[in-house]
Symmetry: C2
Subunit: 352 residues, 2 copies
DNA sequence: GTGAAAGCGCTAACAC
DNA sequence: GTGTTAGCGCTTTCAC
């Protein structure tokens, strides 16, 4: 009958163990801590008591007392998206490797929920918070994010922005981007170089910086060829498979004139491809199709999809490493990862 | 200069706020707590101080003091698998809805890492731990899992096993399964009913209970048709796309005789489909192909994949609900969710 | 080598 | 209404 947790089996405290072993709580702490001189006999008795009670120290109490595993949070829009999932994988592996507890959370693209979760992580005293996905555009959102970055920094933590542009000013956030504009430029140049002149762009989103970047690359590639893209060929949407399917059906129904399609993501491309097939069109015979991200399924579409490779898993690992290794007062860092086109079978010369 | 955190900006405690507002710590606690009579003036001063210091209460300290958001953990083999990702999504949504902090962690299929993480969650005093994915078979693993279940139960938490069979004995674990055997049976019967007699099975894994169940359904369907499946037609592997690709190439190289393929998961089917295409074979013209899980991309393969629908997101939500709603001493529950075949375009009569 | 006591940041019971 | 005190479960001086 130790104090009060008499029959409350399992909810044992360090004092229960101490009592069972006939020592003081501090001794138990020392034994469990590892590095501290304790007599072999005492150690044995304590270990036996720990085993008997199946005692596990309360991680929250350790944390508050200064010991305890540091925590790292990874926030994304939708865990269901394969590219995000790959990144999550990289983040988790690296965080675990570096001895951190890793929390993954997806917000469904809701900016408020995202900020709320970052706040929760600040309350958890997380060592770092990694935010991934295009920013949501609005100035108010940007300001709030900047405030969070400051707050985390002030608390000795830090905010890492992945796949999105830096915040304005001295925001105290680390940024790791990959090249959306350059990749899109190279990809569209590939299309243009094969003779395509009317390239449909699926999934531009004025509020999402990632999609914006890809759209800029699309435009830039045209200009580099001395072309001006037809605005009617740019269909706004999000980065999901269903958006691609819907958009492609609409483009077909509207009898838009194009010989190639640039889908903003591989998932959009997957949906578009299905719509194309449903319409009895052949890819790349009747229309060429390209995507972006190089997610694993890109190889399994038929035809295999030409796309831009983004090193997502590596990106995740890198985010964790820079987040955890930086000196508290090092200046903000800004990394830009390269991307490259992967040519597969979904592109051909027009009318071939 | 409050106590010691003078210039340690951001790392503020409730006492710093109290000092800044000229009140006691308990008053700050009461203001922040919400429900407690506090004079309007005091409240204002406190709120102002909170804002000025950008104070956020330490969640760990709250937790240890009895208040604090409860936590729930979700453990899966690989976040990269689309079916798991969908479940993770359901779990997260529901956990958030019920006011719980949700930790997602993937173990890469490593049983030791899985158990270690469950132990970590026990240390975090998580309200529940949800484990998903086929069990790893070995008796030792099963025993350790049972011990964890007991320990969690004793601590007022609980273990929920998703998509895997119950533990032996009074293990104190809630189980939510979906019907692998029945779904596979119906699916293979669909093939057999169309005249196929030699069905290749890709991805049986003797150590994984999920894959085992699907394999049992495969065999049972044959027997129901008075057939005995050829053991040479069963290729062991895991549930990944790459496994499917490799296995299919091998089957083709070995010139195995079959007119239909049952891939253990949609991802395996995706890899197999690509291998089939690479070999110049037509689906379903030359060979019929079916998968299992009905992940979103199943619709985007060409031809669209006939498969078995598993309500993964619903499964995740259900896991959370039953985990959080059960009485501490209610008997172990065991739910079995139904599945159903979704016929699309990847199957036809043999030789058609 | 071990115990008693103080402290981590917070809440709650008990004064006034 | 508000401050003081004790306590959550742990670690870590500081004594002996």
């Amino acid at each position: 009958m130790t104090r009060k947790s008499a029959e409350a089996q399992g909810r044992h405290t360090i004092r229960d163990v101490a009592a069972a072993a006939g020592v003081s709580a501090s001794t138990v702490s020392r034994v469990l801590g590892g590095d501290y001189p304790v007599s072999a006999d005492t150690r044995n008795r304590v270990m036996r008591a720990v085993a008997a009670l199946d005692y596990v120290p309360d991680a929250r109490a350790k944390a508050i007392a200064g010991t305890g595993t540091p925590t790292l949070a990874f926030v994304l829009d939708d865990i269901t998206g394969p590219s995000f999932a790959q990144m999550a994988h990289g983040v988790e592996r690296e965080a675990t490797r570096l001895g951190h507890l890793c929390l993954v959370h997806s917000t469904g693209g809701d900016a408020d929920q995202q900020l709320a979760f970052v706040e929760t992580m600040r309350a958890q005293r997380a060592a770092a918070v990694i935010l991934v996905g295009g920013a949501h555009g609005s100035a108010e959102y940007e300001a709030r994010t900047a405030r969070m970055a400051q707050a985390l920094h002030a608390a000795g933590s830090r905010l890492v922005l992945c796949g999105r542009p830096p915040l304005a000013g001295e925001a105290r956030a680390t940024v790791i981007e990959y090249d959306n504009e350059g990749g899109a430029h190279a990809l569209v140049a590939h299309l243009l170089g094969r003779g395509h002149r009317r390239v449909l762009f699926l999934g531009g989103a004025p509020e999402n910086t990632t999609l914006q970047g890809r759209e800029r690359g699309y435009v830039a590639a045209h200009r580099a060829f001395g072309l001006e893209p037809d605005p009617a060929l740019r269909l706004p949407g999000d980065f999901t498979r269903d958006s691609g399917h819907r958009l492609m059906r609409r483009a077909l129904a509207d009898k838009l004139d194009f010989s190639a399609v640039f889908a903003a993501t591989d998932m959009v491309a997957a949906g578009a491809l299905t719509a194309l097939h449903e319409a009895g069109l052949s890819v790349p015979g009747d229309v060429s199709l390209v995507g972006y991200d190089d997610v694993p399924v890109a190889r399994d579409l038929f035809p295999a999809l030409t796309t831009v490779h983004v090193p997502y898993e590596e990106l995740g690992r890198l985010a964790v490493r820079t987040a955890l290794s930086r000196e508290p007062d090092a200046p903000d860092e800004h990394l830009l990862l390269g991307t490259h086109v992967v040519v597969r079978n979904s592109t051909a010369h027009p009318g071939s």
